[in-house]
Amino acid sequence: MPAPEPVPAALEQRWNDEALARQVTQPAWRAWPYQHPAIVLGRSQRSLQSGIEAQDSLEILSRASGGGAVLVGPWMLGLSVALPNEHPVASGGAVNTYRWLGEGIARVLSQIGVDAWAISPAALLAHRAESSSPVVDWACFGSLSPWEVLVGKRKIGGLAQVRRRQGILLVAGILIQAPQWKLLADCLGKPAMHAHCLSELTTNCAEFCPAMPADQIAARLTSLLNLEIQAALTVKSALLLAA
């Protein structure tokens, strides 16, 4: 399957908004390689907007889901999955729905040689208790939530979600290469130390697949994610029909 062409980040947000603008009756998903850097703020980050330094080349967007700011760009692969409310993978609450996607992303990353895992709520509690790492909670990749994806103790995949009457939208970001964390911190008026912390708290696919160009990593992940999501949703949809 050919990889999708890189797109402006605004197109992803438009797809997400349109996915929940009407009742979701069938699962739909799409991977997002990005043309250019952009900052995507979580829906409760209005206060950050006042501190944003003007950047001619950097688009600032807001998303409907919660969580911290994300610096999208050629170093990241985004993913959107829209589900009907009654779909089996969406049952059992929001945290359980994250499990399905987080474990799927970890399996896909393992297939390209990235030994990833999705952190359970219990493992997350233990991680927080033993960790001396700072939390940069204004940034998605500066903190951890249940079933987000790590390699060792460093985050590689972030998740967020929207649950409405019309359906459920899951979104994910997977780090292909190291993002320009300083650009994110500078633009949001955060200390340079936070950029350093984000670098320490995260990892990316290129660290484990140094011979593979970033666009090939994105293409391979897209292909594998399509297979993973299609297989999971087909099996679960069959269960739904049989119920």
Binding site: S65, G66, G93, A94, L125, S145, Q161, V162, R164, R165
Partner: protein, 83 residues
């Protein structure tokens, strides 16, 4: 009088002590609302949830202000059912 709250299912597997954030109110006290109408949007564990009216009625009291946090089971508003 009906208490409007975030559904229990939303809190499943969420650590005790974690609170949700009231992101926005889409109605004001005294507004007439229809069953299923979105009243507010809240955020819990990076998930935004629409809070909808369980029945037709009037928003009598908003109990949690925008940008405040709230606990599991806490009422967000009181709704007086119509009829």
């Amino acid at each position: 009088m009906i208490n409007v709250a975030l559904v229990d299912d939303a809190w499943k597997d969420v650590d005790a002590g974690v609170e949700a954030l009231l992101d926005t109110w889409q109605v004001r006290e005294g507004d007439a609302v229809k069953q299923g109408q979105t009243l507010a949007v809240v955020v819990l564990v990076k998930t935004s949830f629409d809070i909808t009216a369980p029945v037709d009625g009037i928003i009598e009291r908003i109990l949690v202000a925008k940008e405040d946090t709230f606990k599991r089971g806490q009422a967000l508003a009181r709704l007086k059912a119509s009829g």
